[in-house]
């Protein structure tokens, strides 16, 4: 009798557990949340672009958004350790870049809707072949009152960037046949850049922050080593002289970064008052997502980006709370499966990849069969709670270079089987897959352990492939070990990874797509590898990337980049899975919010204000 009681109790508890999980898998809830969020998008007003105006001899940029109230603070957060430096030329990680870019504007910016270059510190610009003429705003000042002139620009470009101070990645990306562009001061408010050849991506480089010469020059004179520690997180905040909307007020390690308004910012509102409206911008440094969510719910944060199950939960809460959930469209992140096409030998004469597997991976039919076996919709539905878009292209879905002719398709097991058959693969009675030489198809699938999203994708991909009769050993391993395999030892079969790209400049992808790239992971060559063993389509890709960088007008470039996406779509070195949607929640008290896919939620931070309570 007693035993029966226990059994009933256990069943009861199990039933409760199941009930708890049912909610997550319930399509209705997810779908309605998804739909509601999608509707939001149409509610965004159109962003009124800023225009140049000249008042009392000063060339301001004027906000066309409604006039707001001054004062208040917006509290954001950043996950992780916080910034490692406030020097925009030293930052190597995302958080540090965000934290320093708030304080320093570049000559040009990016239009939040169209993605075209727009003037920031520059009043206007003209491109004449290889020459880029930049006219600066007259009369605008650094936060300490000194004027911003051509000297600052030339100093920044010549003495910091071209001379290789700090993180040299910006400079390294600008080498064309071993030559760098040049910069020349024409007069106090005019600068001319000249590239050795027409080089389209250069215009985006003009978004690089400009440094105040009178502050940075002493540091540059002390040499590179000194510069590496210059404007680190230990620098007293009052030393920062900035051109951006804000300047540093306080940095408390592992807690927060506080910015205050730059009184000399060059953007004004329609009443000619200097922006930003907000007195303070605060970034709380939080350790993980859970803490971030708790802080938002506890009212300590004003803005949060949401993922997975939290989206539907926040959507529920939205009705009786003081925030709105925004859907900003697919992110620039891409999630993909890739196979190791490496057919080289290591120093000891052993193949990096087992030759049997090499034969499969090199076979386009095999790659396409895998592509057709993966059920993207199911993955998006189950892993991203429906909040993602299946992905088939190398450019992310919000890229202005996206090739829209490449159509998505559903999982097609029959087609996959047919492709495998064409290449001589066959199934035995038990449904196991063998290649034409009778080798069972079995390989390892890696991803980085700890990334729950990728681990979940791995399980589903494994399931999909095992339906095809392949044996997949799914092994989540430590991130560093995985990177080591990808870039150094090349001993892997298949991997699930993600990369982020730029939605406005595809040339950043050359590290991945050009055959000598440092992240050409599907066929990684060691640095300094000279033998030409490229596949035909890799050669084609190299040509397209070179041509794309050299062409200057958008239409011509688009053709090259369309073609490269087409090759990637056809050859499947990367089998793209999906892009997650960016979902953010922001408190309703903030006005002048014009979210865009390219700019994000608060791209116009200087125009955002807090509605006064009536």
């Amino acid at each position: 009798m007693k035993k029966a009681g226990y059994v009933v109790l256990i069943i009861f508890i199990l039933a409760l557990l199941c009930k708890a999980y049912i909610r997550i898998d319930n399509p209705d809830i997810v779908n309605t949340a998804h739909k509601q969020i999608q509707q939001n998008e149409s509610q965004f007003g159109e962003y009124p672009a800023q225009i140049n105006v000249t008042e009392n001899g000063t060339d301001f940029l004027q906000s066309q958004a409604p006039i707001g109230n001054f004062g208040g603070a917006l509290i954001e957060s950043t996950i992780g350790e916080g910034p490692k430096t406030f020097n925009p030329f030293n930052s190597k990680d995302n958080t540090s870049s965000i934290m320093s870019d708030i304080m320093y504007d570049g000559l040009l910016g990016t239009h939040p809707v169209t993605g075209q270059p727009i003037p920031k510190l520059a009043k206007d610009f003209s491109i004449n072949g290889n020459d880029y003429i930049i006219h600066l705003r007259k009369g605008i000042k650094w936060s300490d009152g000194k004027p911003i002139t051509a000297d600052d620009v030339v100093f920044t470009w010549q003495n910091i960037i071209f001379d290789g101070f700090g993180n040299t990645s910006t400079r390294d990306s600008m080498y064309i046949d071993g030559e760098l562009p040049t910069v020349k001061k024409i007069d106090d408010y005019t600068v001319k850049f000249t590239t050795p050849k027409p080089f389209a991506p250069f215009i985006r480089n003009l978004g690089t922050p400009i440094a105040p010469k009178h502050v940075f020059e002493p540091a540059v004179k002390k040499g590179k080593e000194y510069f590496d520690g210059f404007f680190s997180t230990n620098t007293p905040p009052e030393k920062f002289v900035t051109s951006g909307a804000f300047r540093l007020k306080e940095y408390v390690p592992a807690q927060r970064v506080v910015y205050e308004r730059n009184p000399n910012y060059y953007v004004i509102n329609k009443e000619s008052k200097k922006l930003p409206y907000l007195d303070k911008l605060v970034y709380l440094i939080v350790g993980d997502v859970n803490n971030q969510v708790l802080k938002f719910e506890g009212g300590e944060l004003d803005d949060i980006s949401l993922q997975g199950a939290n989206v539907s939960r926040f959507k529920e809460m939205e009705k009786h709370s003081d925030f709105t959930v925004y859907n900003l469209g697919p992110s620039t992140g891409t999630m993909f499966v890739t196979m190791n096409l490496n057919n080289r030998k290591d120093d000891k004469g052993n193949f990096y990849v087992n030759p049997i597997k090499q034969r499969w991976f090199a076979d386009k039919n095999f790659r396409k069969a895998i592509d057709y076996s993966i059920d993207r919709k199911n993955i998006v539905f189950n892993i991203a709670n429906g909040l993602g878009s299946p992905l088939f292209t190398a450019e992310s879905l919000n890229s202005i270079y996206l090739n829209t002719d490449l159509k998505p398709y559903d999982r097609d097991v029959n087609k996959a089987e047919q492709l495998l058959k064409e290449s001589g693969f066959y199934k035995d009675k038990k449904g196991k897959l063998f290649d034409k030489y009778g080798n069972p198809v079995e390989f390892d699938l890696y991803t980085n352990a700890g990334n729950t999203e990728r681990e979940a994708i791995g399980v589903m991909v494994k399931q999909d492939l095992e339906d095809m009769g392949m044996k997949v050993n799914f092994k989540p391993i430590e991130f560093n070990t995985l990177v080591n395999k990808l870039v150094n030892t090349y001993d892997w079969d298949m991997v699930i990874m993600g990369l982020t790209g730029s939605p406005i400049e595809p040339n950043g992808g050359k590290n991945v797509w050009m055959s000598q790239g440092t992240l050409h992971m599907f066929n990684q060559r060691p640095a300094g590898y000279t033998k030409d063993d490229r596949f035909e389509w890799e050669k084609e890709m190299d040509k397209l990337y070179d041509a794309g960088a050299l062409a200057t007008d958008f239409e011509t470039r688009k053709k090259y980049y369309d073609k490269y996406q087409e090759i990637a779509y056809e050859e499947k070195p990367f089998i793209y899975i999906y892009s997650p949607l960016i979902i953010e929640a922001l408190r309703n008290k903030f006005k002048n919010v014009y979210p865009t896919m390219l700019g994000g939620l608060i791209h116009n931070i200087e125009e955002i204000y807090i509605e006064s309570k009536k």
Partner: protein, 324 residues
């Protein structure tokens, strides 16, 4: 004089110990597959030249032995080196040590001031309802995992809105008056202190109770009672003095835990202490920072034990006569 000699001897003994500890830690960290540059390698916008420069700057291009020798040399000179971000390790530690000390000292102070009397009370009223009640309470305290308790309290803070969700200061801390600042810090400290206090209180109370019960059961207490001494004298002059010895050893360990004991709680509460710093350092194999913290931990442990032993010599005449 003798005691000075003893201290000197102990310090000399500690040196080979520290060398071994440092070597083992250094090699284990470097043998782990963590690549400090992994994040950079996977960032498409970071160039090959930058990577090479970083490798050189961090000394990763040299053999482990050379790396260790370089570290040891500067450590002996008192230079802790720079972190992988190029900041001074000592500055980094200095930022965090006061925060952690603030938390742990409050907790240790509270637990000892509450735990010892409670232990005595429980032992004196052995098997009474009061003792049983406290046993239940302390068992609960010992059984709850600290991170779980911390998470529960965080959720409590969110739901009620009575307490801030983690951290040490509010974002408008600078604008507050001195009194307001103290209040703000206190407000933030309540929850983490509650967690750590509950957990260590339970252990301490049990320990004190057991020690005192042990002593109360011994022959000399029976003798003292038989001699007709007052109960007060028996307990506070004879029993307690003997029961306190193991507690002093415990105090030595508490000293060692001053800087490292609260890592888990710190992490959950996003408390800007050493624990979080070091955890993050381990994750990206920031060798100088990790080594500094490990060495600090080892030195604190050795020091704690030394202090406990000296205290024992002072409180216990038997040790004074015998071993030194």
């Amino acid at each position: 004089m003798q005691i000075l000699k003893y201290i000197l001897k102990r310090i000399l003994q500690a040196i080979p110990l520290l060398i071994i500890v440092s070597m083992i830690s250094f090699f284990i960290i470097r043998l782990s597959p963590v690549d400090p540059l992994a994040e950079l390698r996977l960032n498409p916008s970071v160039s090959q030249e930058t990577l090479a420069k970083e490798t050189q700057r961090l000394g990763l291009d040299k053999p482990i032995i050379v790396q260790y020798a370089k570290w040891a040399k500067s450590f002996i000179k008192g230079d802790l080196g720079v972190t992988s971000n190029g900041e001074q390790v000592s500055t980094k530690l200095k930022e965090r040590i006061p925060n952690t000390l603030l938390l742990t000292i409050i907790v240790i102070f509270l637990t000892w001031i509450v735990g010892i009397p409670l232990g005595i009370v429980a032992a004196l009223h052995w098997k009474s309802p009061l003792d049983r009640f406290m046993t239940v309470l302390t068992s609960i305290g010992m059984a709850i995992p600290s991170f779980f308790f911390a998470v529960l309290l965080l959720i409590f803070a969110v739901k009620t809105g009575w307490f801030p969700v983690g951290g040490l200061t509010s974002s408008d801390f600078l604008e507050k008056s001195l009194g307001g600042q103290i209040l703000d810090i206190t407000h933030h400290l309540i929850l983490p202190v509650t967690v750590l206090f509950t957990l260590s209180l339970a252990g301490l109370q049990r320990q004190m109770r057991a020690n005192l019960l042990d002593v109360l059961d011994s022959d000399y207490i029976k003798f003292a009672r038989a001699k007709g001494l007052s109960e007060f004298d028996v307990i506070y002059k004879h029993a307690l003095r003997n029961a306190i010895n193991p507690m002093i050893t415990l105090l030595g360990f508490e000293f060692a835990g001053l800087l490292s004991g609260a890592a888990l709680t710190e992490y959950v509460f996003q408390y800007p202490g050493l624990g979080r710093l070091i955890l993050e350092a381990v994750m990206r194999s920031d060798i100088n920072l990790v080594m500094a913290s490990l060495m600090m931990g080892a030195i604190m442990l050795i020091l704690g034990n030394l202090i406990a032993d000296i205290l024992l010599i002072i409180t216990d005449p038997r040790i004074r006569r015998g071993n030194v």
